[in-house]
Symmetry: C2
Subunit: 250 residues, 2 copies
DNA sequence: AAAAGACATTGATTCAGATCAATTCAGCCC
DNA sequence: GGGCTGAATTGATCTGAATCAATGTCTTTT
């Protein structure tokens, strides 16, 4: 009976992915707790009521599943994979406003249009809700609303950090900040930081060009701050100095 | 008896400013509706319960009432006046992440430290809550939580726009975007845009220097896009061209 | 294994905006 | 009105990152 108070459920064709579907790590939709954890607000009755509210979809790498400016009809929860969020100018200039991974919510707009686009980096599993359904869910599960507020607050803090980076940091400081952010994001055992995105994505995230990103990474290598590994990874070899650089202390 | 369902209340020494205190326009704390409007979730009993939850404070121009990195003990609602929010680097470089005016909430942090500083531009009237009190309020009034989520969503959209501006727009595009934003913010009858902040604030908001801001405004004047008025105002004389410039179409 | 294409690095040059440096202007307070 | 002070403008020069241009290095395909 312990499963009755657990968020984890197996996959079925059309269902609400509460968490941990496909045996991958995930977050409870209503409380934000990791997949295997107990989630007291959800029981079998709740799950039966919710079963038909969401559609599971798959987005292949490179697929833009949210178009900037399009009518904001749906709301998404990322079940696995990672996504880049961006805004663009008419002449093609692009700013990546953030990366989102497993457990993140997308499409929370007050406006009736999406304010940003979203594109799959690798293969992404998504849980899609209609907007009225989402409203219903928030009414039925107040903890969901609290969870969304917490996530929005965190994103706001991240956005403010990014504004400081884009408005006032040098190229070296930007790249250092980015590497440390990636490290914290992907809490691997070692200090090997995975960089699954291209140089172009890094540049569009940091407000630089691909050449400057590349040059800066090379400079960091010659300065023995990092070691550039095989297959889009970087090892930080002088954490203290990199942190000082990212914080703008040099 | 119609006052029982109205948010508007007169001022008392220590009280929750629900809205419209001091006969100034304001917003209902729980529903976000303007001062004079009906707010069905608040009645006299609620008001009695809430009466002692907040402290009204005054911040004089230039006063920093939230210190970046300080323990996040309080939560604020701006009752009147305008505020600049900012982050700084150790060497003094500064990024203004936004301006907040009447009705806005500040200090909504998941972390236990403030992620940004806040300084009064003019004289600011504030309604201050302790964090536990705020949590209590959110439990008692679910609409407050919804209101905060809506505000956070809007701020997130604004933050994404600002990231695009800081990462990818030219100085001219930045200043044009800023003027239009100010115009929309202060929906005056005429096209006279008030700019109460200094050139230094504008520069720190747009990721530029004061010289570049000044030069760009002068250029816009010679190009007959704007007319610079007396006492920190600007009149937009070529809306279409300015909008095209802000959108990056030239 | 070779070819093709995308992605990444490195070099040379340019330029938008920063920095340094005077003025000029707008409030203020006697 | 006449200094006084901080803010704003304007000019001259410099520089960090962009742009232009090869070259090099992975991946995928066949």
């Amino acid at each position: 009976m312990s499963d009755q108070t657990t968020c984890r459920r197996d996959a079925r064709p059309r269902r609400l992915i509460l968490a941990g579907a496909h045996r991958q790590p995930g977050y409870c939709l209503t409380c934000g707790i990791r997949a295997q954890s107990i989630c007291s607000v959800i029981d079998d009755d709740d799950i039966a009521r919710l079963a038909e509210t969401a559609v599971e979809t798959l987005a292949l790498p490179g697929r833009t599943f949210i178009e900037e400016g399009a009518p904001a009809t749906d709301f998404y929860n990322i079940t696995s994979g990672s996504v880049k969020l961006f805004k663009a100018l008419p002449d093609g200039r692009r700013q990546i406003t953030g990366f989102a991974t497993t457990g993140h919510f997308l499409g929370l707009a007050v406006s009736d249009q999406y304010a940003f686009g979203a594109e799959a980096i690798d293969t992404v599993r998504l849980c899609r809700f209609s907007r009225p359904r989402m409203r219903q869910l928030m009414d039925d599960f107040p903890r969901l609303e609290r969870r969304l507020l917490a996530e929005a607050s965190n994103e706001l803090v991240a956005a403010q950090n990014q504004m400081l980076l884009l408005g006032r940091k040098t190229a070296r400081e930007r790249v250092a900040s980015f590497l440390l952010e990636r490290m914290r994001e992907a809490r691997d055992p070692a200090e090997d930081v995975p960089l699954p995105m291209t140089r172009s994505d890094m540049a569009d995230y940091l407000g630089l060009t691909i050449e400057t990103v590349s040059r800066t990474l090379s400079w960091m290598r010659t300065e023995r701050l990092i070691a550039i590994g095989k297959g889009h990874t970087v090892r930080i070899t002088a954490m203290e100095r990199l942190e000082a650089l990212a914080a703008g202390e040099s």
